[in-house]
Amino acid sequence: MLKHVRATLLLEALTLVICAVIYPAFLLGVGKLLFPSQAEGSLIDKSGKPVTNPDEAVGSSLIGQTFADEAHFQTRPSATSPGYNAAASAATNWGANNPLLRDRVARIIGPIAKYADGPQKGQPVGPDVEKWFQQDLVGGKEKGIVAAWAKNYPTLATNWVKSDPLITEFVAGWMKEHADAVAKFKSEHDGAEPQPPDMAGDFFESFVKTSPGAWPSIQEEKAADGTATKSVKPVTTGSDIQTYFFDMWLQEHADAKLEKVPADMVMASGSGLDPHITLKNAEYQTDRVAAAWAARTKQDEGKIKKEIQELLKQKADSIMGGKIRTWIVNVLEVNLALEDKFGSQVVSDK
């Protein structure tokens, strides 16, 4: 037995030195000498040139970022928290049967969906969704769309309560005013204390009574001194309606011909950090991006659009002409190129 222990200890010590010290040390050397940029995380600066000092960088060419500006191409949905958090990669891990997956996709599509055919071809669907919401008739007959939504899609209602701290707080406030509902929950759940998401159903039941035909939405108000405050208010118009009620509208208008959006625009990546979008996705976004730059540079939109399309063609890349991989573009690199091209031509309003 002693023989075994001795041999084991010797071998462990040797392999530890070889595998955990010599091997990584050699690779660190290779990285430093031959591939300094890659070894430090492929950081790039504003001009797109590789740098090794994070202070000079605007990101990594391998890691995506969130882009909210209309004038930038936008990356895929990200499951990290907040989006594109490169310190903690994450995926949704939602399966096909998960209602949250369909709901996320529907909510992204709602505000951008367009008709593909018919007299309204090219027109956005959103205003029709709002009109339908304001009529407040389920299936054209029964009153009360919000009530039906909360009753038919309880998972989504629960998810809505969790979607923003302001909303959670709002529902918590409602719980304080409705001790009877809380008591009822307790008696049905062996005295367990309910959290705001647990009360989503009861909340909506009471909300539709006090604000019939409206939806509780986060609204920003500017006070006279310019400070903005956010609070939850009942509304009947706005992007929240187009977001949350697009799918319900669609169920009633199943034969509406709508323009298809590229899948990578609505499907989240595995790491939550995917730096790419497909060329198709970029082309789909080009109208919006071109319009934004045209407004800012006070130039012709058609000309700008052509230049952007040219840029995308330059930046797009595939493997074996799409046999192995389709055409994709690196979003950060394209946006840096846009800034480089148009940023200096921006005309200030004043």
């Binding site: 890659q38 958090n85 994450a90 049967n97 590229p262």
Partner: protein, 604 residues
């Protein structure tokens, strides 16, 4: 769509031939080490061992790495190379992680970039990913020596040294350098904090200034290379090979996907060479290839060539569910029609997929990583289309297609023994393999090794699915939730390590105020399953080989059942499929198959 998988398999097979021959050469000790290495080898070599001695050496060594591993993780906050100040992990999570990396499973309840320091990544993850696959390989080499009737089974310590230093070290170095060139970081600097192009998209700090984007990095290439080559799968980052730093582009994807099965396929060549019987190896290769190709075709067809059913239209349906109160014992649940969302899904299911690798890269990888016992992922298996999700599970249930380094072949050896026995019974002859009689003792050991796998999967799955431990830990509803539980134990028992990662099984740091509620249960149950399913199926075959080695070879006659023919190959394939189907078909129907038939979405 099919170009990528075909290329990956073809190039791997071509490379496996020289590597397999090289492996036979080093494990047969036919090389002359330079003087200084030779001196070391003589100090490591404790002399010839029989199967019991070999098994004891293996166990002693494993106990020692268990202790070292435990110490490294427990002491993490006080050890060097911790630029981002990682704290101590929860005790059950340490137990789980140590079992996981000891058993070459590399199941990760932690998330690499969040929970581990660079010291832990190198002295725990990297080190264990070098030695644990070699332990499996040692066991296989010993079994081969037993089968060919050597007087002893060699020396465990010497075999381990040869595997680590002569085989995996050079291979990993080459792959790691290529990975760095492709974009994998290799640095000891902490997270890079960069100002984003648009200010404020990462939220604001309490003082009102915009947060930077914090980019985790580290000695990534070193860990990723050995994780792929050693059928390990324990990634540097939580997202594993889907993370752009672990797998920066389609070329690194091709390389690392190849590495998954490179050494397992090479062991077949080694087997043929060491036994001087390439026909036997050829039959085994053919059976494995048929199974592997089937799983790849299945996964790609249902995932890359099909849209994600979450977004498409479904007709109105009616489901019958059991209801004791009803007269007929069941009642109808009507399900309304669902309209399709306007999404262009030409590229197949993109949820949980990265765009840079290529259309079929995700499902191909999913098949290969579970054919072998690698368990790394470049797409999230939880989000595969329902039927495509059956591929990784089937691979792990059979657990003998390519398999883990060494142990995959050992699992196959169990099926061989059973196949020989069944065939022998059918033609009414005493079953033989390689001229040695297979008798009662060998069969008992083979059955023990075979049955431990379904027992360790179905038993705990049943317990967890029936209690809050399981059904309050899933993040998907209905059948898919059941699949998550089933997958976790399948992966643990197959020593694979991939996961339907939506399962809430992460405790986090010891002071985490909001851990997953049942994380300790998952940590301990999976830890035990991994250990049992690792060591029983290694030691039992060693004992079989030891007992076969002691038998006199029977002469080869016209009546001998030949095991190197196409007929036997087909018979073996049938045996594997039949045994696998009998064991796991009911579970498959309750999980992925039920999800496929709907309703989708489930329980809106």
């Amino acid at each position: 769509m099919w170009t990528l998988p075909v290329l990956i398999l073809a190039v791997t097979f071509a490379l496996a031939v020289p590597i397999g021959l090289f492996m036979a050469w080093i494990f047969d000790g036919r090389y002359r080490a330079p003087a200084w290495l030779g001196g070391l080898e003589r100090r490591i070599d404790t002399g010839p061992q029989d199967w019991k001695d070999y098994a004891i050496a293996m166990l002693v060594f494993n106990v020692a790495i268990f202790i070292v591993g435990f110490l490294v993780l427990v002491l993490q906050p006080w050890l060097p190379l911790n630029p981002d100040g990682k704290k101590m992990l929860a005790p059950t999570m340490i137990f789980n992680t140590v079992c996981s990396f000891l058993s070459n499973t590399n199941l990760q309840h932690y998330s690499g970039e969040v929970h581990l320091s660079y010291f832990s990544q190198l002295f725990f993850i990297c080190w264990k990913q070098f030695i644990t696959p070699v332990i499996g390989l040692c066991a296989l080499v010993a079994i081969i020596r037993g089968l060919r009737g050597d007087r002893d089974m060699g020396n465990f310590y010497l075999d381990l040294w040869r595997g680590v230093v002569y085989l995996f070290l050079p291979l990993a170095t080459i792959v790691a350098v290529l990975l760095i060139a492709g974009g994998s970081p290799m640095t000891l600097e902490g997270n890079a904090k960069v100002a984003t192009l648009e200010t404020g998209v990462m939220g604001a700090a309490p003082d009102g200034s915009a947060n930077p984007q914090e980019i985790a990095r580290g000695p990534v290439a070193a860990v990723v290379a050995i994780k792929q080559l050693g059928t390990n799968g324990g990634g540097f980052f939580g997202a594993n090979s889907a993370h752009p730093f672990e797998n920066p582009n389609p070329y690194t994807n091709f390389l690392t996907c190849m590495c998954i099965i490179l050494v397992p396929v090479s062991t077949l060549v080694m087997f043929g060479r060491m036994l001087k019987d390439y026909r036997q190896a050829g039959v085994i290769f053919a059976v494995m290839l048929v199974l592997s190709a089937t799983t790849i075709i299945w996964a790609v067809s249902f995932d890359s060539a099909q849209p994600n059913p979450a977004l498409i239209a479904h007709e109105a349906e009616s489901f019958k569910i059991p209801d004791l109160a009803a007269e007929t014992g069941e009642r109808d649940v009507p399900w309304p029609a669902v309209a399709g969302l306007p999404v262009d899904q030409q590229l197949g299911n993109l949820e949980g997929k990265e765009l840079r690798f290529g259309t079929a890269a995700g499902p191909t990888w999913a098949a290969l990583t579970t054919n072998s016992s690698n368990g790394s992922v470049n797409a999230m298996h939880d989000s595969l289309n329902p039927l495509a999700g059956l591929t990784p599970m089937t691979g792990m249930w059979l657990n003998c297609i390519w398999g883990g380094v060494g142990v995959g072949f050992i699992n196959f050896f169990i099926y061989l023994v059973i196949g020989v026995f069944l065939a022998g019974m059918m033609v009414g002859r005493t079953p033989e393999y390689l001229g040695k009689k297979v008798e009662g003792r060998e069969m008992k050991l083979a059955m023990l090794a075979l049955l431990i796998h379904p027992l360790m999967i179905l038993g705990p799955t049943g317990v967890f699915a029936a209690t809050d431990w399981g059904n309050k830990s899933t993040n998907n509803p209905g059948a898919h939730g059941f699949s998550e539980i089933l997958y976790e134990f399948t992966s643990s028992s197959a020593n694979n390590g991939s996961g339907f990662e939506g399962l809430a099984d992460t405790y986090g740091f010891n002071d985490n105020p909001t851990p997953a509620p049942f994380a300790p249960q998952w940590d301990i149950a999976c830890g035990l399953v991994m250990l049992i399913s690792r060591f029983v199926p290694i030691i039992a075959p060693l004992a079989i080989a030891g007992s076969l080695a002691a038998k006199k070879p029977t002469p080869f006659t016209a009546g001998t059942l030949r095991t190197d023919t196409l007929t036997f190959g087909m018979f073996l394939l049938g045996t594997i499929l039949l045994v696998g189907a009998l064991l796991f078909l009911p579970a498959a129907v309750l999980g992925p198959v039920a999800e496929h038939w709907g309703p989708i979405p489930f329980g809106w």
